[in-house]
């Protein structure tokens, strides 16, 4: 979130368990982060399961990134 405060576009790839942590930190820092939530956990997943998480996260990231760049 410090990066966003410095003007860097910094999407956060957050596993669901850590979303409340991110929300609390964002509130305390008074920033509105760009958040992409993936189901927790990603540790312990096999290759196929990890690929599914990557697909889902990329599906959310790409339009967000395009919009930030002004392509949206």
């Amino acid at each position: 979130m410090e990066l966003e405060k410095r003007g860097v576009v910094a999407p956060l790839l957050v596993t669901s368990t850590f979303l409340p942590l991110v929300e609390a930190q964002a509130k305390a820092r008074r920033v509105t982060p760009r958040v992409i939530v993936v189901p927790h956990p990603v540790g312990g997943l096999n290759e196929g399961e990890l690929a599914e998480r990557i697909d889902a996260a990329a599906g959310a990231l790409l339009p967000l990134a395009d919009e930030a760049r002004g392509d949206g």
Binding site: E2, V8, V9, L13, T15, A28, G43, G44, L62
Partner: protein, 402 residues
């Protein structure tokens, strides 16, 4: 009131957990300028708990996050400023000097509410295995051990609850109790009723077996020593207080700070709240009560200098000063081709990050992606790395979680 400079406060609170936020709020509600420091995020120990047991009353339980959110909201509503920095030392005096990784500040009084450190077995190689088999957060890391065998080390109610939470996913849970259990009869009954939970008393962990990741723990009991094949071990022993953080304030054998009454230390303007005080009752209710008492004591200590209670509210309190935000720090020279990944050092989170980054790289036809990582998942990001990323890159994709 404070001198009003950016680095001078009436009260500084070290640690923004339950006790720290309660102390900060109490001092702020007395009309004082208050900052509460935390290394990573407000919430303290609650960050690592999914549910709070025996809260709000014995026998009841509630989700931890709403409690954290409410504490943060009330502290902020009272005017508490949050400081995200690691406090490295406190020097008693008038004013008290607080050293942080980002520099020094002064305060009329300080409340130390750091809590205790994470549990540790104190064995060689243990730190290298944190996140690779050694954990202290069943709520965070439990799913990694689905269908696997784990050990939990400790003797208190927290140990029992973590073991019960792990039992929901793990194939086998062995609770290693160094002496005799101190948990309640109710929890003893729940552990006994869970068929894949075994409790070993008089059990000491003397070694760790690993090959990159944990593969077992060596356990010594009264009559034998054996290797217990487990993929995870969750220690709730060896937690230490902040001994040495405050010059001249003595600590007990586990590093918790000694007080005369649960709040006051030998340093006139340094107070203690929560689990980091010697002999503290480690419950949420006690942390709230201790925090309020410490915050009020700190306010009383600086009150003569603060005036007779007239509160002049600064309408810009809590608002970022102009010029410190995006327009000043923006990575103005970076182009959209400058994109990096910032890992939290969790292995699969890094794989996820790289995978998503590759999709973006292909989508935008980027020649390359930058990469940086934190030293470990539980440490704050290094300031130099943040400086470098913000100056060098237009966009940084950040991994949070595991």
């Amino acid at each position: 009131m404070s001198a009003g400079g950016d680095s001078s406060y009436d009260v500084a609170v070290v640690g923004a957990g339950v006790a720290g936020l309660s102390a900060a709020r109490a001092a702020a509600e007395a009309g004082l300028r208050v900052i509460a420091y935390d290394r990573l995020s407000p919430g303290g120990q609650l960050v690592n708990l999914t549910r709070l047991h025996d809260h709000p009353q014995p026998g009841m339980s509630t989700e931890a996050w709403p409690v954290v959110s409410e504490l943060v909201a009330k502290a902020e509503a009272a005017g508490v400023e949050m400081g995200f920095d690691e406090v490295t030392g406190v020097r008693a005096g008038e004013p008290v000097v607080v050293s942080t990784a980002g520099g020094e500040i002064t305060a009329g009084a300080v409340v130390v509410a750091t809590g205790l450190s994470a549990g540790r077995l104190g064995l060689p190689g243990e730190e290298e295995l944190v996140g690779r088999g050694v954990s202290t957060c069943a709520g965070c890391d439990g799913p990694l051990y689905r269908g696997k065998a784990v050990a939990v080390v400790g003797d208190d109610d927290w140990t029992a609850e973590e073991a019960l939470e792990l039992a929901e996913v793990a194939a086998a849970v062995t609770v290693l109790v160094p002496g005799e259990p101190r948990w309640t009869a109710h929890r003893a009954g729940r552990l006994a009723a869970t068929d894949h939970v075994e409790v070993l008393t008089g059990a000491t962990v003397t070694g760790l077996r690993a090959d990159g990741v944990l593969s077992g723990v060596v356990v010594r009991t009264a009559d034998a020593e054996r290797t217990l094949p487990v993929q995870g071990v969750f220690p709730y022993v060896g937690r230490r207080g902040p001994a040495g953080l405050v010059e001249g304030v003595p600590a007990d054998e586990v590093g918790a700070l000694r007080t005369s009454d649960g709040v006051r230390t030998v340093a006139a303007r340094v107070f203690v709240a929560g689990d980091c005080g010697a002999g503290a009752t480690q419950t949420v209710a006690a942390a709230v009560a201790g925090g309020i008492a410490a915050g009020e004591a700190a306010a009383a200590a600086v009150r003569p200098a603060a005036g007779p209670g007239l509160r002049i509210v600064d309408p810009t309190a809590g608002v970022e000063p102009a010029g410190t935000d995006a327009e000043e720090h923006a990575s103005g020279t970076a182009e959209w081709t400058e994109v990096a990944l910032f890992s939290n050092s969790k292995p699969n989170a890094t794989e996820l990050l790289r995978g998503v980054g590759e999709r973006l790289q292909a989508h935008w036809e980027l020649p390359e992606l930058g990469f940086a990582s934190k030293p470990n998942a539980s440490a704050a990001a290094d300031k130099d790395v943040i400086d470098w990323l913000s100056q060098r890159y237009k966009m940084v994709l950040v991994a949070v979680g595991d």
